[in-house]
């Protein structure tokens, strides 16, 4: 029995949407290096649709896989839908995470929430 599911290992080995978006409409960073996990999400949003999403993660295998899966789950979706993304959905899409790694999926949810919040506040300023 491996540590992680095949899906987790796939997203860890071949993370989707890795990188940054220079002119992002929303950027969110959560976690801290002290705890060993930092996720940063970049969103490009047009007409309330998430046109593009990129991430950078400092963290363990499940943190990288959770970020990758979370970006896949929201890409191309309306902002309203992305806002509904739960950590449970991320973990389920990965065919589950070990109990002590569930916080990685929470971090992914929070990173997206944070990026969306940044988008909203930028929009208000405009």
């Amino acid at each position: 029995m491996a540590l992680y599911s095949e899906k987790v290992m796939d997203h860890f080995r071949n993370p989707r949407n890795v990188g940054i978006i220079e002119d992002a409409d929303g950027v969110g960073e959560v976690g801290n290096a002290k705890c060993g996990d930092i996720m940063k999400m970049y969103l490009k949003i047009e007409d309330d649709i998430i046109k593009d999403v990129k991430f950078e993660t400092f963290g363990c295998g499940s943190a990288i896989a959770s970020s990758s899966m979370a970006t896949e789950l929201i890409k191309g979706k309306p902002v309203s839908e992305a806002r509904q993304l739960t950590n449970k959905a991320v973990a389920e899409a990965l065919d589950g995470l070990p109990d002590y790694k569930m916080h990685c999926s929470v971090l992914a949810q929070e990173a997206i929430e944070s990026a969306l919040q940044d988008y909203e506040s930028k929009k208000e300023q405009k």
Binding site: K34, G36, F58, S62
Partner: protein, 394 residues
């Protein structure tokens, strides 16, 4: 696979496997039985005791066989504490980077009213005899300091520490699990009163170890029952395991010079190769170090992902990152030598064995470089460091 996790456990030697399997099949008698067949097992047991004693410069009656290093550590420390309590001495000296078998036992004693002084091990992972001497008090009943650290491989000045303990008449125990069978250990020359060791760390089987207790040092048993091990450890002896461990130890000790000659250059080659990675640092003293150990911190990455990618490349290694321990804190050893959390999460331990080749060493260096660079490529921490938004620590 390149197995570079020998500090976790080792492959059993062919001789140890042969001893184990043949005894399992044929010598199943109980050493406590009086008939010939039982006495045959007893003979095997006592020969193993002589061999183990020889390997560390002890007398056979000073060896107690245990289930491993953890049990030996528990028995040594709890015995010295019990004796100390009888004498009204409830102070113990140790270090901040001991194995948990020692630290957790000391924590238990703290709850029972003992005072524990954990000595600083400095940036290089070494404690000095002077520090021990300064910490010794009238009520000190035990000094327990590991021979070689399990994570960073640093070898402590055990002989000098033992000398200080003798001078002040304080019992000295050493957890030598990472030293026995890897470097020269002699309990007489090293002034050791009690020493713990574990079979599977030197190519013997798991589930068997021993405690050396110098003649005249009182020991209490942890396990009540029969009169095995002269009443100091009840339970029918694991004769095949014990004999197999003795075989492995005998061979390891006979080969110490060859082991060192083979491993040191390769260890240092890997250390030098990995040192070329920018913003990396060797953990622990480069010289006073067991021949097998390589331990680095890399800034901007996390250890578990490093291990998983090395595993994909066929390299089995270990890390002191929180994510590999199931807790939120990184290795207490790395914190003890002053590594802050941020970099302690990005650690890698390679503990090489005698089967390693020069090509393996090259491959390890190349792989570690690739993986570190790859992970830094999408690490927000690394980006901030490179952009000057954060200061490099290493």
């Amino acid at each position: 696979m390149i197995y570079a996790d020998n500090a976790a456990t080792t492959k059993m030697s062919d001789a140890a496997v042969k001893t184990l399997t043949s005894l399992l099949a044929d010598t199943y008698g109980n050493p406590s039985s009086l008939y010939e067949f039982g006495q045959k097992a007893k003979e095997v047991l006592e020969q193993a005791r002589r061999d183990v004693a020889d390997a560390i410069g002890a007398q056979p009656n000073e060896i107690i066989f245990t289930s491993g290093g953890s049990e030996a550590d528990n028995q040594a420390i709890l015995s010295a504490a019990k004796l100390g309590e009888i004498k009204g001495k409830k102070h113990i000296i140790s270090t901040a980077f001991e194995h948990h078998a020692v630290l957790h036992t000391l924590n238990k004693l703290k709850k029972e009213g003992f005072e524990v002084t954990l000595l600083d091990v400095h940036e290089n992972g070494l404690v000095s005899a002077e520090q021990v001497e300064e910490a010794i008090r009238e009520d000190t009943c035990l000094v327990t300091i590991m021979y070689a650290n399990n994570e960073i491989g640093t070898i402590q000045p055990i002989r000098e520490i033992g000398e200080v303990c003798r001078k002040h008449n304080v019992t000295f125990h050493t957890d030598a699990v990472q030293a026995v069978g890897h470097i020269k250990v002699n309990v007489v020359d090293d002034n050791i009163d009690m020493l713990s060791a574990s079979g599977h760390k030197f190519h013997g089987p798991k589930g068997v170890g021993f405690l050396y207790v110098k003649k005249g040092v009182r020991i209490f048993n942890l396990i009540e029952g029969g009169a095995q091990e002269k009443g100091r450890r009840a339970g029918t002896e694991n004769v095949p395991g014990i004999a197999s461990m003795a075989t492995a130890l005998k061979d390891a000790v006979a080969n110490l010079d060859g082991y060192k000659a083979k491993l040191l250059p390769l260890r240092d080659k890997i250390i030098n190769g990995i040192s070329e990675i920018p913003h990396s640092a060797l953990n622990g003293d480069a010289v006073s170090r067991v021949p097998s150990n390589i331990n680095f911190c890399f800034e901007g990455i996390e250890g578990e992902s490093l291990l998983l990618l090395l595993d994909d490349k066929g390299i089995a290694a270990s890390s002191g990152s929180a994510c590999t321990s199931g807790s939120l804190d990184p290795s207490h050893v790395l914190l003890a030598i002053g590594r802050v959390h941020d970099v302690a999460h990005g650690s890698l331990r390679l503990s090489i064995g005698e089967d390693i080749t020069d090509e393996d060493a090259d491959y390890i260096i190349k792989s570690v470089k690739e993986v570190v660079e790859y992970l830094r490529g999408f690490s927000p921490v690394w980006r901030d460091l490179v952009a000057g938004k954060k200061d490099f620590i290493l």
